[in-house]
Subunit: 176 residues, 2 copies
């Protein structure tokens, strides 16, 4: 096991500003492109990250601390952000993500004492018993998987443009 | 075709500072981890990006402008950065990447007039005839593929830690 609370927080704290730096001011075609029917644009990925901050990570953590395994987490709708027509600019979305992530990492540090809580368990509606350590590791890898998704969607725009070089570009070989 | 010179430069200009924000100050285990024998750590990926700035993109572009298809590009050694034992901190590596990328995007804007040069051709040692547009698109997607690699290597550290959630984390299903 490699999980370490301080190292995990290092990543959680960096993600929003990293994305803010990468995506703010980018031309719309980069932000609105998707990989086809039912896939997400960069802008939709940011809405999904915001949704997770509101309804997934901290609420589930609090449920483990308060209820243990006695009540399963309410299911998290991974597609709920698609129901709203986002009229906001990418800069507004990124600002919301950054703001709520700061609140949530602050709360995380208050709630979780690593020497005490990492092995505490809750009940996941699909997986059954899960640990605080697993939830926190997943929060980190969830950031990373969506950063990977963002750069993959952007790469896809240039699939035809790179010509023969696609053979050397691993990102054009992964699938959504 | 989606390539557009201004949009391409938007990405090229953002990559170094994005990585600087994401990676500066990260604990060593994030930076030194790799996916096993022969695979690259985050720190080695940055050295590879620096190598490309020095010996790949601009030199090849200049060769197309000067020689056309008459002389093939000298082959670019994608592993040459592994021959040097890097004694530098990640912050020093990222600073070098940022500095040389600024020089190179400045040079790119001087060298290439999109209305004139995008269809000019050179000779790639493996692929044969390639276009300026393809080289520039590849430069962009090359940044994106290595950002994807960085977050994939970092995710791999937590493969066991996420427990049952690995089923929902696409990044743990891609291969190097």
């Amino acid at each position: 096991m490699n999980f370490n609370m301080e190292e995990a927080i290092e990543v959680l704290e960096r993600t929003p500003q990293t994305l803010e730096y990468f995506l703010s001011g980018l031309s719309d075609p980069w932000l609105q492109y998707n990989e086809g029917e039912g896939s997400w644009s960069v802008s939709e990925v940011i809405d999904h990250l915001i949704e997770g901050e509101k309804n997934n990570w901290i609420p589930r953590l609090e449920m483990i601390l308060q209820e243990g395994e006695s009540k399963p987490f309410p299911p998290f709708d991974r597609y709920s952000h698609l129901n709203k027509e986002s009229e906001r600019s990418i800069e507004q979305q990124l600002l919301e993500f950054k703001t709520i992530r700061i609140q949530n990492t602050t709360k995380l540090k208050e709630l979780i004492k690593p020497e005490l809580h990492l092995e505490w368990t809750g009940s996941h509606p699909a997986f059954g018993v899960v640990k605080v350590r697993e939830l926190l590791s997943t929060w980190v890898v969830h950031d990373l998987t969506h950063i990977a998704q963002i750069v993959r969607v952007m790469s896809e725009r240039y699939r035809a443009d790179v010509g023969p070089w696609k053979e050397y570009l691993g990102i054009l070989k992964t699938t959504k």
